[in-house]
Structures are given as C-alpha cells and as structure tokens.
Amino acid sequence: MNEKRTLSILILDDEPIVSKRLKPSLEKRGYVVETFTESLEALKRIKERNFDIVITDLKMEGVDGMEFLTEVKKRSPETEVIVITGFATMETAKESFKKGVFDFLSKPFKLGEITEIIEKAEEKILSR
C-alpha cells in the first residue's frame, strides 16, 4: 500500500450498514471511497467519472445490480467489480463472472475477506 497512486472505490448497497462499515475501514487504508444506497444515483455517478474498483450488491430496488455492473463494465472495462450478495446462487455467480467481475462474495462476510479481495484487485490494477 505504499504506492503513490490512491485508488478510488464506489460502494453500492441498498442496506446502509454495508457502506457504514466499509467506508471508514477502507479510508483508513488510504482508499478514496464513495458510497451509495440508491442504484440510480450510483448510475448517475459512474457516468460522471470512472472508479478503480466498484463494489455492488445484486438485488436492489430500482436498477438491478447486474444491470449496474454491466453498465460499469461497458463504460470502463478497466474497473474491477466485486459483487456482494445475500442471495448467492451458482447462476448469479456464473453470470457475474461472465460479465467480467473480479470476485464474488456472499453476505454475511468478514471485513478481512473483502479487504483481501480488494487488495488483490489493487495488485492487478497497479500491475497494469
């Protein structure tokens, strides 16, 4: 984490607790973090700028997580997407990977699990 470049992360989950818990922890690790609970607003934001990493839930009101990540990947294929969901099925996992997501994590998960995935994504991004 000594690299000069600061990675940007967008988190989208309709349950506020996810952002509330993740944001300070990731900021403490030196990431720049933006959080959303409304998928429409997150969609608006990704049209304004690209993020290095996007963390999104799948099942949400409004724009569905799958749609959202499809849009993210379309606009910025470089962005690494991490999917977090409470309804993990083989199908959704397969579909997510087909769309090029970096990793897939089912809720509930430990803070350490997601930071590990983020660090791997970071490695990949920085090695480009």
């Binding site: 607790i17 900021e27 409470g86 809720k107 430990k110 803070l111």
Partner: protein, 856 residues
C-alpha cells in the same frame, strides 16, 4: 370377559409404545438438532463482534432457520412422548410471534413489570424496558460501583399500558394521519395529542407500583421529605444523544406530583420538535416508547458538569469541569456563572487550569419546601467550588465511565451534604472538533507507528483500546489485573470473564470466537483478539500498546490519533441492523431455564428458544433413562451390565459393533475387554486413569467412595430418575453416555470416524450436592479444563456444556479420555471448592495428571 378386555388394552398399549430403537434414533436426531441450533445461535452472536458485514436479510434468514430447527426439536420430543409436552408449541408460537413483531420494527418491552429498580435493569439487561438514561445510571451503579441518587424506572410496559387503557393509540394515530395528510398543522396535532395524554387516567396498577417505590425511598430516610427529578428515558430508533433536549424533564417534584410529572414527560413524546425530528428521520411512531427515570433530588452543596474530553480539542488530553454552589438546574441551563477547571486525563490528573468566578447566588434547598435562589456568603463567592481532591475524584470517575462506554462522556454530578460525589446523568459527549482526525488522514499517520502484530488471530470483539499490558501467568494473578489493562492470556478461558469490567482489551493465544468469553466481551464491548498464537510471548507486562480490533492490528505504544478517531466515529454497534440482531437474539439466546427441579421448569416457563432447546434436551434424556429403567429386560438391542472394578453400575446397550461378538452371555455381564467401541474404550480408560483416583480430593478408600457415589440413597425413596441407571448406548464409532453419580449429572455424546468432518463430541455436566456457588465453581473448573482442550464451552451457573467437532480420530479419542478423567476427578470437587482460587489450583492438579501420563 374382563380378562379379554384387559388383554386388549395391554396389546394396544404395547402397540402404541415406541420401541427403544425408535426412541434412540429420535434421541440422536434431537441431539444433532440441538447442536446445530446452538451452533447457529453462537454464529449469530459472533456477528455482533463487528468484524462481519451483515444485513437485515441475514437476520431474517437466521431467525427462520433457528425457528425451523426448534420446531423440529419440539416435534421429535412429542413423537417420543406423545401428548406430554404439547404446550411447548404454544410457547414456541408465542416467542416466534414476538420475534416477528421485532422484525416488523415494533418495540416490545422485555418485561411486563411497570416499575424496575436499577439493580435489576443492569443485571438482567433490561435497557429496552428502561430506556437509555435509566440504563446508563443503572450500569454505572451496578457495574462500576459509583454512587447515584436513589432512583427507579417506570418502564415502557407502563407506557404502553397507560396509552392502551385510555384508548390513546388509535386516537393518536388518527391525529398523526391528519397531520401527515396536511389536514392539520403540526402545532395543532402536537397540542391535541399532548392534551389527550395529560388528561388520561394512569391505571391503578401502575400507580400502585410507583407509590410502592416512592414509599420505599421515603422510608429509607424518614427524616427528610424527598423531592424527585422525573426525567425522560426514551427507547427509540435513533441514538440517544440525537434526541437530547427534545423531551421534557421535571425537577424538584414532590412525592404527590410525580404522577403528574410522569404524564408531562410522556406527553413530551409528542412535542412539536420530537414529531418533526421523527418525520425528518423517517422514524415510525410505533418505534417510539417512553420510559421514565424517577430520581431523588440530591441536596447538593455543589453541582456541575464534567466532559471527559475537550469537545473541540481532544488532542489536549484534558477533562473540562464546570461547577457552582447549590443545585444543578441553573448550571446545566447556563443561567449562572460557573467555575471552570481543566484537568489532565492522565492519572494523577494534574489541575492544569482554574478559572474561578464570583458566584453571587445559588439555588438552595429551602427548608424542605420549594427551592429558591439565595445569595452566596461573601467569603464563598470567590473560592473554587470544588477542592483538588474532588476534582481528582471526578476525573477518576469520569475515566471509568468513559472506559465502560468507550465514548467520551458528558456527566452531570453533584457533591452531596457529606461531600460525596453523586452522578446524576451520564451520556455520550458529542465531539465536534475540526482537529479530530479523519479516516483518510489516519492512513498516513498510522504508518509512523510500529506494528507488533497485523492480521494475526481472530477478532472476537471489534473496537479500539489503549492500555498497559498485563500478561496472565497463572490464574491466581487474575485478581492483580490493574484497572484499564490490556489482558494477555494463553487461553480464552471463561474465567477471564470475571475481570471483564476492569480491562480495556483482551488478547489470547488460543480461543473460540463463539465461546463464552467472546460472548461476554461482546456484551461489554471490550475489544478482543483471539488465536494470536504467541501473544503471551510477544507481549510483556508493563508495556503500552494500542489494539485496533477493527483492522486486527496491535501497535506499540499509545496511538492517540487512532483513539481520538474512534471517539468521534459512529459506533457500528449503534446501527439499526446491530440493534435489530441484538433484539432478536434476546428472544433466542438467553437461557432462563436452568434448574430442572425449579417449578418453572415447564413448557410454559420457556421464555426464549434456548429455553425450549434446553427443555427438550432435558426431557429427552429423562425419557430415555425412564424407558431403560422401566423396561430393562425389554431391549431390542444387545445389552448387559458393565462388570468392572469401578462400580459404575452401568448398563451398556450395543447398537452394532460396540461389543465383541458373543460378549453378552447368560449373566448379561460385560467386561471392559469385550468393548470394541473405540470412543467407549477411550472414555473408560480416562475414568480408570491411574492418577485420577489417587488425587488429593480422594480421602476415603476407593471402593466405598465409589459405591457411595453410585448408591447414595436407598432405592425405595428415590424416583428412577434420581437413582439413575447409568446408561451407555454404543456402537463401533458412537457413544451416548448418561451418568448420574451422586447428585450431578453427565451426558456425553460422541461420534468418531476417519472422516474428520463428521466427528464431534458433546459433554454436559450439571448439578451437585452443595450450594450453587460451589457447584458453579466446579462448573467453572470443568469449563476451564474443556476450554484448554479446544472445547467450545458454555457456562450457565452450574451447567457446563462443551462441544467440539471436526477433529481427527486420535484428537477425538484423546478428548474422550479427558472427559473420562474429568468424570472421576470432579466427583465431589464441589464440596472441596470453597474459594475461587481453588479453580486454578485444581486446573494445575489436572494438568500435572495429564502430563504424568505422557511421561509414562
């Protein structure tokens, strides 16, 4: 004719009787359900550690799974004893419907009592009934031993009952609807609701209870006429301090005006400000309940306010104290000039700054009647209203309260007529400094601090703590743990729970995050990291460290910035999902049914799902022992009596492969050598372990001692259950042993094969002949011994449950051997265990025993 009829009845009886094979299969299924449910509950508790990210969906899924398993448990018990425990279903539905209501966002009062004393609130964790203000004071008194005024709480149960009896909920709802639809203004709506409440009759049963408590306070000091402060203590969906000042408080109320003041405080739920606030935050009206604190007014010589941090400049590491002569109201509201003191946070709390103002008037108690503002004598006007000793005393109390709540505190205090410090209120201090570090800057700051350990071990409770390390060398030192220490210990032993209120943080070499200590650490929010492997070698007593159990890092020295950051950060424990899971768990996890001899040990007595689980377990064990007693010669399986030098008086039933072929001969006697069941062999080897019997607790000769244990009373006076037929059901890879030796009762259930995943052992121990404290001591000893051998341990008074799973064959057999040793070793240990120190002593004795064996 009669005979034919009789035979018919008999035949029907026999047909209806469930066979032993069937009972036993059900029994095993129940044990397995039992273990799965307890695992599920322990996992859910672990979610509260703060290390997990979970959402509402998880809570719902957890509740559904648990309910479904418990439902199956009840169903299976009813198959074994048809019709006997039908009421369990009613209890189950009652509890489940409560949980559904909680999930739907309704506040339920955890008790049906209208008034509670503070001791009860703290001990039984009745915060949801008593509200924040009451609960904080209750905990400060009960857990920290700090003086507060005589007080009691009027619960949310009283609030609901009061509104209900007057038909108010419907009326209020209508008014709120009209307001929401724009038909009435907020002012109008608020006024209408408040006048309804103020005009409502307080039900006689509530009134009676309040009177009782008021009388008790009066009688404690008959010479003085008491006055009361009646304060709001709401239970709401938002953290307490965001509601500060929205609700009413009434000070200096005479005994006969308490009821009136109560109504006024309740009516303030519908003050304009509170209604507006709820609307802006999207809080439902159904999520609000008002408990009320009724506190005797202290005849204060001095009153004041203490901040445990400077609210804008925490980096100054000071406490700020304001005070003036007389009663507190004018000081809190800022109506009089006050002295101001700045005191160092660090002991010995040096007084850094002192601003004394001229205090011309003070509010004083005036001869038992109304209080009035009186002039302060000239001489006292310009001297400090607090002495150095009082300032240090306040600083010390402030730190203790802050350590307990892990947040800076805003504390109202008084110095009473005897010069003693009395705490009137304590709540979280809102920090609003620009100098508080933000997360983004922290990353850089933290890099400068040397790290002792990173990412090692498992977080059992999140949080940040700084303090001086105390490495626990042996259990006798537990009493020497200094206040505020970071406790470093080899094992996450349940015994460490004893000092949980003294320590700031815990680190252990070994331990289960779903175990007893972890649960207690979560209850008291003590940051805890377990399984750090060589913690006891890495850390040294006396060194200062900072635990960041949020990121699982331990830093060398005091990392002030990190601590300051944590002070301002919103607690994850205060988020809605945490509160919801805690509330749901309250209906699931606590165990109230402990003693099977208690008249409340009934299906109706079950208050939580855990109670039901426990009840089913107890009953199914009883059923199987009863069956065996009543039908000893009616076995479907091969059975016989164990013929051994140790008179265990045990019947063994082989379900397959547990005995050598042809082992049971004519006399129905089995010798140990004929037992081929590996787990049974391991257990018996443990019981026969040479040292175990010669150990110190044995003073009588062995044979007579053993028989006194197995046959302590004459058979005629005892029911079959109490006499206890010691029973082992075995197969080549399985044992289920129920033992009653003297007055205590042991159950062992274990399965041992090559496939590690299937292996498990369950051990349960309860009872004894002595008083509860000695029995609990023995239970604590057993719990400790089990925890040291990787068991997941739960302790409830004299009941110990240990579970272990997924260990390889040899590991399992070693542990069964240990259980055997424990059975012998602990027979009458409760009698010997007069003091807590003996727990450590016997742990060492046991350890010696195990080590001696290794050398042989």
């Amino acid at each position: 004719m009669l005979r034919r009829w009789f035979n018919k009845i008999l035949k029907r009886e026999q047909e209806r009787r469930v066979s032993f094979q069937e009972i036993f299969t059900l029994f095993q299924e129940i044990l397995s359900l039992n273990n799965r449910t307890l695992d599920l509950i322990a996992e859910a508790n672990d979610k509260l550690s703060g290390d997990y990210i979970f959402d509402r969906r998880y809570i719902e899924t957890f509740q559904e799974e648990t309910a479904s398993l418990v439902h199956q448990l009840i169903y299976k018990l009813n198959l074994i004893s048809p019709g006997k425990y039908q009421e369990l279903n009613e209890s189950f539905h009652r509890i489940e419907s409560d949980i559904r209501q909680i999930l739907a966002g309704r506040l339920l009062c955890p008790t049906d009592r209208y008034v509670l004393d503070y001791k009860e609130i703290a001990e039984k964790h009745l915060g949801e009934a008593a509200g924040g203000k009451n609960t904080h004071l209750a905990e400060i008194m009960e857990f920290l031993g700090i003086t507060i005024p005589p007080s009691f709480a009027i619960t949310t149960a009283a609030y609901f009952h009061f509104l209900q009896e007057n038909g108010l909920p419907e009326k209020i709802e209508k008014i709120i609807d009209r307001w929401h639809q724009g038909e009435t203004g907020i002012g109008e709506a608020s006024k209408e609701i408040r006048s309804l409440i103020l005009a409502a009759r307080l039900p006689a049963d509530i009134r009676k209870e309040i009177d009782m408590y008021l009388d008790a306070i009066r009688q404690a000091h008959p010479e003085k006429k008491p006055y009361f402060a009646v304060r709001s203590s709401a239970v709401g969906e938002d953290s307490e301090f965001s509601y500060a000042g929205q609700y009413a408080s009434r000070l200096n109320v005479s005994r006969y005006r308490v009821i009136e003041a109560y109504r006024e405080v309740v009516a303030s739920v519908y003050s304009e400000r509170a209604m507006e606030y709820r609307q802006s935050k999207g809080v439902l009206e159904s999520e609000i309940a008002m408990a009320v604190a009724c506190q005797q007014v202290v005849n204060a010589r001095v009153s004041g306010v203490l901040y445990t941090y400077h609210p804008v400049h925490p980096e100054k590491e000071t406490m700020e104290i304001s005070s003036a002569w007389g009663l507190g109201a004018p000081i809190v509201s800022g109506r009089v000039l006050t002295d101001h003191f700045t005191v160092a946070r660090r002991a010995p709390h040096e007084i850094l700054e002192l601003k004394v103002v001229r205090k011309q008037t003070a509010l004083m108690p005036a001869g038992g009647k109304e209080k009035k503002e009186v002039p302060v004598p000239e001489k006292q006007q310009t001297i400090p209203s607090l002495t150095d000793g009082q300032l240090r005393g306040l600083a010390e109390i402030g730190l203790r309260i802050e350590k307990f709540y892990k947040k800076p505190q805003d504390i109202e205090f008084a110095i009473d007529e005897d010069g003693e410090i009395v705490i009137l209120q304590a709540r979280q201090l809102a920090m609003r400094g620009k100098t508080l570090p933000v997360a983004r800057e922290l990353a850089e700051i933290l890099e400068k601090y040397p790290v002792i350990s990173r990412g090692r071990g498992t977080v059992a409770q999140m949080g940040i703590a700084s303090g001086t390390v105390f490495v626990l060398e042996n259990d006798e030192d537990l009493d020497k743990v200094p206040q505020g220490a970071i406790l470093v210990a080899r094992y996450a032993s349940p015994r460490l729970a004893r000092v949980i209120r003294k320590v700031s943080g815990i680190i252990t070499d070994v331990g289960a995050v779903t175990g007893h200590l972890a649960t207690v650490a979560r209850e008291f929010r003590v940051p805890t990291i377990m399984n750090l492997e060589h913690a006891t070698e890495i850390f040294e007593t006396g060194e200062e460290v900072t635990i960041d159990a949020q990121e699982n890092i331990v830093y060398e020295g005091l990392v002030r910035e990190l601590y300051h950051f944590s002070l301002a950060e919103e607690d994850i424990e205060e988020t809605y999902e945490y509160r919801l899971l805690r509330r749901v768990l309250k209906k699931i996890e606590p165990l109230y049914l402990l003693d099977p001899k208690d008249p409340d040990f009934t299906p109706q007595g079950c208050r939580t799902l855990h109670d039901i689980i426990r009840f089913v377990h107890e009953k199914v064990v009883e059923e199987i022992i009863d069956y065996n007693y009543h039908h000893p010669h009616n076995m479907d399986a091969v059975s016989g009596k164990l013929d051994w030098k140790f008179p265990l008086d045990m019947v063994i039933i082989d379900m397959g492969g547990g005995l050598a072929p042809g082992a049971v001969g004519k006399g129905k006697k089995i010798v140990p050598e004929q037992i081929t069941s590996q787990p049974m062999r391991a257990l018996l080897d443990g019981i026969a372990h040479p040292g175990a019997w010669n150990n110190e607790p044995m003073s009588v000769d062995f044979g007579s001692f053993m028989s006194s244990l197995t046959r302590t009373m004459s058979a005629e006076t005892m029911s079959p259950r109490e006499l206890g037929q010691n029973l082992a059901v075995i197969s080549d890879c399985y044992i289920n042993v129920s033992l009653r030796l003297g007055y205590h009762f042991t159950v062992i259930d274990a399965y041992v094969v090559d496939n590690v995943k299937d292996n498990y052992a369950y051990f349960r121990f309860s009872g004894g002949v002595t008083d509860i404290s000695r029995r609990s001591r023995r239970a604590a000893f057993i719990g400790e011994a089990l925890a040291r051998h990787d068991f997941h341990v739960e302790l409830h008074e004299d009941l110990v449950e240990g579970r272990i799973k997924k260990m390889d064959r040899q590991g399992m057999l070693d542990r069964l051997n240990l259980l055997g040793i424990l059975i012998g070793f602990t027979r009458q240990l409760d009698v010997k265990m007069v003091t807590d120190e003996q727990i450590a002593y016997y742990i060492e004795k046991l350890q010696e025993l195990l080590e001696n064996d290794n050398h042989e």
